[in-house]
Amino acid sequence: MGKSFIHIVGLKKHFEMGGQIVRALDGVDVQIEEGTFTVVMGPSGSGKSTLLYLLGGLDRPTSGEIAIEGERLDQMDENALALFRRRTMGFVFQSFNLVTSMTALDNVAFPMQFAGVAASLRRERALKLLNQVGLGNRADHRPSELSGGQQQRVAIARALVNDPKLILADEPTGNLDTTSGSAIMHVLSDLHKAGRTVLVVTHDPRMTRFATHKIHLLDGHIVSEAEYEAAALEAMSVE
């Protein structure tokens, strides 16, 4: 068997906060196969978001290896990372991060400008993706005219625009009500079924029902599900 799609070895991310060293990730090894739906669970401060941003090349590790399709992100320069993100990844954020002055269509088409895609093609592709997430009739609306669930769907459409193999979602349902949240999960699940690799960071246990793989993080370490449950119970009993 060759190397896995995502290959993380001894990953550490330390930073200083208030004079203390915070070990957000403290030696994490992860292997993720292509075409999987992985959910990263963990309470806040467990390092799960840090893992996602390191994986997405938006942050630099203190030490350790991160490889996607055999390419070492930790050894790339800024420019190579940007090109790699453009080619390989789509991001979905908790707070959507749409550009408020742009229409839904322009928001979806936005990343293609950096890829140098022709204007007519950008429009065509963005419209197709909006249709795919069920917002074809909202293409000319600005984010302020859309509900939270709709905004997140626009964000997902944007994440898909460069046809990435990997979708990275950071608490995609965190700002949404239950119904909208589960709708978004279904959209992400559909992407997985269509063959993409999806990695979702969440602390919402309901997400796990879509997952093919689960990673549990506690204080910067990967733990087993049993340890994770035990810790959760312990936390509840303290309360």
Binding site: Y53, L58, A82, F91, N97, F110, G116, N162
Partner: protein, 444 residues
């Protein structure tokens, strides 16, 4: 990122913050307008000055005077001779003798060499009841056209008993018997008229002796706004005879030399070079061009100084742009993070923010050029009207324009203001480009 996409994105980003962009651009508008107006003023002043100086002489002429050596020591005609073997080169007495004139003629590019002499005793010219002390010059050619002048009336040709006068000569005539308060008579019409010229000398007892000559005005010269306007031209031989009479001695031009020689050069571009050559031969060469060059240098300095004053206003505007861009980048930190997440390189981000800063500079520059140009036109209208009033009171020539905007100025101002904008945005844009994506995305 394609240039056209970048342009569209920049325009889109600027148009979503219209008020702030406009307020920032106002600073650039003021700065650019100041540069345009002040430089236009300097250029206008230069044009006015050179227009007025236009008459200082034919630009292809070099006026050469003899050098009497020493520290300004003046040696009268006949005092030097050809000697001076003991003098050093700089002290050497150099006279404009006929052989020297032949040397001048041999210089490549010299068209003609014309000696000239004043009437040493001064000359009074009389016509009917009016008279005038005139500037009489004898020239060593029988056609005044050789000096670059042309005739308004009659011809430029000289001959014995014939004179050619400058256009303002009649205006200097007055009636010596006019009573105070009496309306002065109009200037006489002298063309084709017989006039009297009187030259003076004094005997050993101090008694005045007059010599009276009848002359016919056979030509009036076109206006040059130079020396020829108020000069009466006669053949050199006749002036020589009058001088010999008044000085009681004979002049030998081969020995004593002429008091001045006009060297006419065929090509304007060679004037300075030939003048330098003549100076190197030990003579004093004067050309209006060297004077014009000095004037032009002065006005270029003036343009730089005026432009610099305007540039200070632009500097203030530049700080405004830097401030606006820094604020904008703070507000859009998450957007910058997003751009990086979706694959924008540092260069893309840098280009976008530099483009926005340059855009503010360009918009301000455009406004400044338009306002500056309009203001220049307004100044022209007002100032020309005002100065025309003044000129009519003081009798000077009215100005045609005060402020002049050369074609290069608006283009330069526009490019410069755009560059100022870009330069001001450099630091904020660099900060934006080098932000760590994750920190930018989490920025609150």
């Amino acid at each position: 990122m394609k240039f056209f996409d970048l342009l569209r994105l920049v325009i889109g980003n600027l148009s979503r913050r219209k008020a702030r962009v406009a307020l920032t651009a106002v600073g650039v508008v003021i700065g650019t307008a100041a540069v345009v107006i002040l430089v236009s003023l300097a250029v206008g002043l230069q044009q006015t000055a050179t227009d007025q100086l236009y008459g200082i002489g034919d630009l292809t002429q070099i006026q050469v005077s003899p050098s009497y050596g020493g520290e300004g020591m003046v040696v009268g005609p006949g005092g030097g001779g050809g000697g001076g073997g003991g003098f050093s080169a700089s002290d050497e007495i150099k006279l404009l003798t006929n052989p020297v004139l032949d040397e001048f003629r041999a210089i490549p590019g010299v068209e003609s060499v014309i000696p000239r002499e004043y009437i040493m005793s001064g000359a009074l010219m009389k016509f009917q009841k009016m008279e005038s002390y005139v500037n009489v010059i004898g020239i060593g050619t029988n056609d005044v056209a050789d000096l670059g002048d042309s005739a308004e009336q009659g011809s430029t040709e000289l001959g014995r008993g014939r004179i050619v006068i400058g256009i303002t000569v009649p205006q200097s005539f007055y009636d010596p018997n006019m009573r105070p308060g009496q309306e002065p008579p109009p200037p006489p019409e002298l063309f084709d008229q017989q006039v009297q010229m009187i030259v003076f000398k004094y005997d050993s007892n101090g008694n005045e002796i007059r010599k009276n000559i009848a002359l016919r005005v056979t030509g009036v010269l076109k206006e040059t706004r130079g020396e020829s306007d108020f000069t009466v031209y006669m053949p050199l031989d006749q002036v020589k005879l009058l001088n010999e009479w008044s000085q009681n001695r004979r002049f030998n031009y081969n020995k004593d030399g002429y008091s001045m020689v006009v060297v006419k050069v065929s090509d304007v571009d060679k004037v300075i070079e030939i003048a330098d050559q003549i100076t190197a031969m030990g003579f004093q060469a004067y050309t209006p061009q060297s004077f014009l060059e000095g004037i032009n240098n002065f006005f270029i300095a003036l343009q730089v100084i005026f432009g610099g004053v305007g540039a200070i206003a632009l500097l203030v505007a530049a700080i405004g742009i830097a401030n606006t861009m820094a604020m904008s980048i703070l507000e859009r930190t998450r957007e910058i993070g997003l751009m990086k997440a979706v694959g924008a390189t540092n260069r893309d981000v840098l280009a976008i923010f530099l483009g926005e800063a340059a855009g503010i500079g360009f918009l301000g520059g455009l406004g400044g050029v338009i306002i500056g140009w309009l203001a220049s036109q307004a100044i022209n209208v007002i100032a020309v009207a005002f100065l025309a009033n003044q000129a009519s009171e003081s009798g000077g020539a009215p100005l045609s324009l005060v402020v002049s905007t050369p074609a290069w100025l608006p283009i330069f101002a526009l490019v410069f203001s755009t560059l100022v904008g870009m330069f001001s945005g450099l630091y904020p844009a660099l900060r934006a480009a080098t932000m760590i994506p994750v920190l930018a995305l989490k920025y609150e």
